[in-house]
Structure formats: structure tokens, C-alpha cells
Amino acid sequence: MLKIHAVSKTFFPQTVNEVRALRGIDLTIEEGSFTCIIGTNGSGKSTLLNAVAGTFFPDSGTIRVGEADITRWTEYQRARLIGRVFQNPFAGTAAEMTIAENIVLAMKRGLSHPLTAALNKSTKSEIGDRVRMLKMGLEDRLDNPIGTLSGGQRQALTLLMATWLRPRLLLLDEHTAALDPKSAAKIAELTKLIIHQEKLTALMVTHSMQQAVDLPDRIIMMHKGQIVEDFQKEQKKRVRIPDLLDTFDRVQKRELMDESVAEMLIRDYV
């Protein structure tokens, strides 16, 4: 479904601040699968999701969704295929606009925006029905500015908006990280529910080992802009949190060794 081939991205190339955020990523995601990406801070997880969403164009490589090569599509063109939830719970909604107005934009995600009234009675009751599923009492506040809600409530609505029209691909970037534990648990639960109900293809970055073990069908570990581990199918089913932590350690040791070997070689040969 999603095919990422040899994608690289360097920020600030050829300066002292050069960051090689993605180094030749190859990744294929199956239709209907749920994949979690874990990895240390700065390992390139968000950058990978942003590359798929079109926030920037990769320096090299290709990205395909289904048959379409979307490498050169702009962010807003890709929105037709991709639903997103950001880490910042305020990023996914327009604060000064009402809940209903925010959702009505999501009802047209990637479609044209005609000069017809955006909200009428029937649209509103349709919105109310689906918002009621969140069980947050928000269906009675559809005309309130969304900025008056809590981070957890806004993130729940962002998730609902990202999946209102079924996306070919759902991208979630640590979307529970900025929430209090209770809201985070609720959003994680909701995420699982929606992905299973709608049989969505999802790619989720998480900082929570628990979520990585519990939710997805596949776990990918990133380090320094590369994919260093990939737990799939039977292997994924056996993975427990300590295994993930061990893998982290191993990756870091291996890198230390690489560095000391390099140093040795430099000392001996240069």
C-alpha cells in the first residue's frame, strides 16, 4: 500500500548544522496493517512521517501510495489520501472556529469546497451523531469554539476528523505524548477502536513501549535516520517490553562499538 523507497532527507546541508535526518529509508506497509515506529529522540521518526505527509520533499527516493507516485505531490494534495494527528493537541484544529466548523472542513478533506452553506440541520445532526461516539459530551457543544476544549478533547476530535472520510493511510505522530495519563489512555483506546472498526492502514509513532507492544501488528525501530529493527507477524506477537529495551541497548552498544572501531582505525591508519 505505502511504498517508501530509498528516501533520504538532510536538513541544512553543507553547513555546521547539517542533520541527516533520514538515510535511505526503505519501508513497505501492507494494506490494512497497523505499524508502530519507536526510536530515540531525534532518530527521524517525525521526519519520516512528515516526508510521507508531504511537509517537505525528500532529497532523494520515492514514495508511493497504492499505484500513485506521490513523491512530488504537495501536502494539501496528499491530504486526499492521508489523515493525520499531530503530537501537539492544538495543531490539528482551528481554535477560533467551532467544533462543527472544524469537522465540516474534515468532511471535505481533499475535496473541493463549494459555495454552498457549510452547515445545515442535517449536517449538524450527522456531526452530532458521530461526536456522540466519543462519549465526551461534546455533541452538546458543537457551536463552541474548539479552543475552549481540553487537549484530550481536541485530540479526540482531531482523530475523528482525520478518519471522518476514510483515509488510505492514517499517520499518528506521538499523538498521546502531550496529554495527561488518563486522556492519553483514552485516546489510545479510541485510536485502536477506530483503526480496527474502519480497518485502516495506520502508521503511528509512539514513545510508549506499552502501546507499541499492545496496539500494532508490526514494530519498527529507528535510529539515526535508519530503520534498525523490524518486528513482524509471529515475531511481533512474541515481543515484550523488555525485548524492546534490550534491542535499544544493543543498537546503542553497536553504535558505540562502531565509533570506537572507527576511532581505532583512524588512530592506526591516518
Partner: protein, 313 residues
């Protein structure tokens, strides 16, 4: 009475300017200085076209379209060429100064004894008043011409205010408003935010130019200097409107901008009557806008200091 009617009429005409600026400053949150040039553009184009025999209606429409072109160019400078919004507006405004001079061929065009868009109610009133030049309003004699301009302005503002209201509540209008609110969200929803900015500025400056077109017809002249400071006047009107009625909802915001402009004009008329030197008008307006902008900040920091003090105690 004539003073009030005059202030009312100018207020109504300039409320189209405020409505236009509502779109740029408040909806797409773009500090657009093109305004000073596009109001003059509307005035000068209308003056020239009417003088060369165009119908005032067509001339006003042409002004609206010309304003739209000017606004889109500012938008293109900003989105396509990545020029900062203030600078994009300044470039366009400066260019418009020369363009306006080119259009008029000189710095001032009088519009004496020409048709205006208020011809139609004038005829009607004339028949109604059975040949009199003045009819009493609340006991005061008011000239038919003044009254018909007022009526025309009311109709213009009511129709345009209503259309704008309906437009902002469409799918497209909702997307436009969201663009000023959260660009990241807007892109994630598949909306071309650059297109929205260009269109928003086009519509905004179209209304501003239309305001200029009506103003020229009302004043009876177009002048290349007439746009100077208009942006600040519009901003002052919007701020007054928000203080007057708040900004909860589109209808309220639009009504507020119209009422704010009228009230502002009345205040100016009164201040001038009381002996304010017209030359000081722009300074006074600028100080007013400054005060309105910093008042909330001053209030906040004052509040904080106060809290700190009470914590120490």
C-alpha cells in the same frame, strides 16, 4: 442634522473598506497595507470611467474588479515570491500610487454634475417630494441628494454585508477563515492555503476599491492622496466595532465592523465640530489604534504585577 447624515453616509461607504479589511486582518490574519493604494485605485478608476461616459454602476464594478487584481498581486508576492506580508503590501501600495496617477493623468479629478449610483433613488424621491429640493426628516429639512446617497449607501452595505455573511458560512468561506487560524490544520485538510490567501486578499481589496468608488462619487472627486491612512482608519473602525458588539460569530463581527465605522465617523465629525484641527486627525487616529492595541497588554502586565505584590504580602 446634515452633519449627522453626512457622517452616516461616509461611515456607510467606508464600512465597505472595514468589511474588506475584516477579511484580510481578521479572517486570513494578513496585515495588508495594499488598502491605502486600492481605495484610491477604486476612486480614480471610477472617476475616469464615469467622466468618459461609463454608467456609474459599471464603473463601480470595474473598480471592484481592479481592487481584486491588486489584492491578488499582493497575495502572489507573498505566497509565490515569499516576500513578507508587510513588504508585499508596501510594494503594491507604492506601485499603485503611480498606477493611480497614470489612470487619472493628473493628481485630482472632479466629478461635477455626473451621474452616480444614487441617481435612482434621487428620481424616486424627487417625484415623492413633488418637485421640492428638500424634505423634512424629523423636522429638519434635508436635501434630496443627501438623502438619496444615504439610501443608496444603506442598500449597498446591507446587500454586501449579507452576501459576505453568506459567503463566509459556505464551505469555501469556512476554509478561508481556517487559513488565518491554523495553517498546519488547513493543509492537513487538503486546502491550498496559498490559494486561500490570494483569494482573501483579492476579495478584501475588491471591497476596499468599491468603497473608494462610492467615496469618489459621494465626495465628487478622486484624489491620488485620498488613500493615505485609510488602513489605520479601517483598523480603528474594526476595533471600535469589536468593542461595541464583540466578535462571537460571523454576523456579529460583520455588524460590528459596519457599526464601528459609522460610530467612528460620527466621533470624527463631532471632534471636528468641536474644533479639532483636521490636520491632526490622522495622528489622533493613530494614537487611538495604538492605545486600543496596547491596552489589553498593559492591562495584563498590570494584573500580573498586582498579583505578584499580593503574593508577597
Amino acid at each position: 442634522m446634515n452633519l449627522i447624515i453626512g457622517a452616516f453616509t461616509i461611515g456607510l461607504i467606508l464600512s465597505l473598506l472595514s468589511l474588506g479589511m475584516l477579511i484580510s486582518f481578521r479572517m486570513i490574519k494578513f496585515t495588508d497595507i495594499t488598502v491605502d493604494g486600492s481605495i484610491t485605485l477604486g476612486a480614480s478608476l471610477t472617476a475616469v470611467l464615469i467622466m468618459s461616459g461609463w454608467s456609474p454602476w459599471l464603473a463601480s464594478l470595474a473598480a471592484f474588479l481592479a481592487g481584486m487584481v491588486a489584492g491578488s498581486l499582493t497575495g502572489i508576492l507573498y505566497t509565490r515570491f515569499k516576500i513578507q506580508e508587510i513588504l508585499a503590501g508596501i510594494l503594491m501600495m507604492t506601485a499603485l500610487y503611480s498606477i493611480n496617477l497614470r489612470i487619472m493623468g493628473r493628481s485630482n479629478i472632479p466629478l461635477l454634475d455626473t451621474d452616480t449610483v444614487s441617481e435612482w433613488p434621487e428620481q424616486l424621491l424627487f417625484n415623492f417630494a413633488a418637485g421640492e429640493n428638500r424634505i423634512p426628516v424629523f423636522g429638519w429639512p434635508v436635501s434630496l441628494i443627501d438623502l438619496s446617497v444615504l439610501i443608496t449607501s444603506i442598500i449597498f452595505v446591507a446587500v454586501i454585508g449579507y452576501l459576505l455573511y453568506r459567503f463566509l458560512l459556505t464551505h469555501f468561506g469556512t476554509a478561508l477563515r481556517a487559513t488565518g487560524n491554523n495553517v498546519q490544520m488547513v493543509r492537513a485538510q487538503g486546502i491550498n492555503n496559498n490559494k486561500m490567501i490570494i483569494f482573501g486578499l483579492a476579495l478584501s481589496n475588491g471591497l476596499v476599491a468599491l468603497s473608494g468608488a462610492l467615496l469618489a462619487q459621494y465626495q465628487g472627486f478622486a484624489d491620488v492622496q485620498m488613500g493615505i491612512g485609510m488602513m489605520v482608519w479601517g483598523l480603528a473602525s474594526i476595533i471600535i466595532g469589536e468593542a461595541l458588539v464583540g466578535k462571537s460569530g460571523i454576523g456579529v463581527t460583520i455588524t460590528g465592523a459596519i457599526l464601528g465605522t459609522i460610530l467612528f465617523r460620527l466621533l470624527i465629525a463631532i471632534a471636528l465640530r468641536w474644533g479639532l484641527n483636521p490636520n491632526d486627525l490622522k495622528l489622533v487616529t493613530a494614537i487611538f489604534v495604538f492605545a486600543a492595541l496596547v491596552a489589553p497588554l498593559v492591562f495584563k502586565s498590570f494584573h500580573k504585577k498586582f498579583q505578584k505584590k499580593s503574593n508577597h504580602a
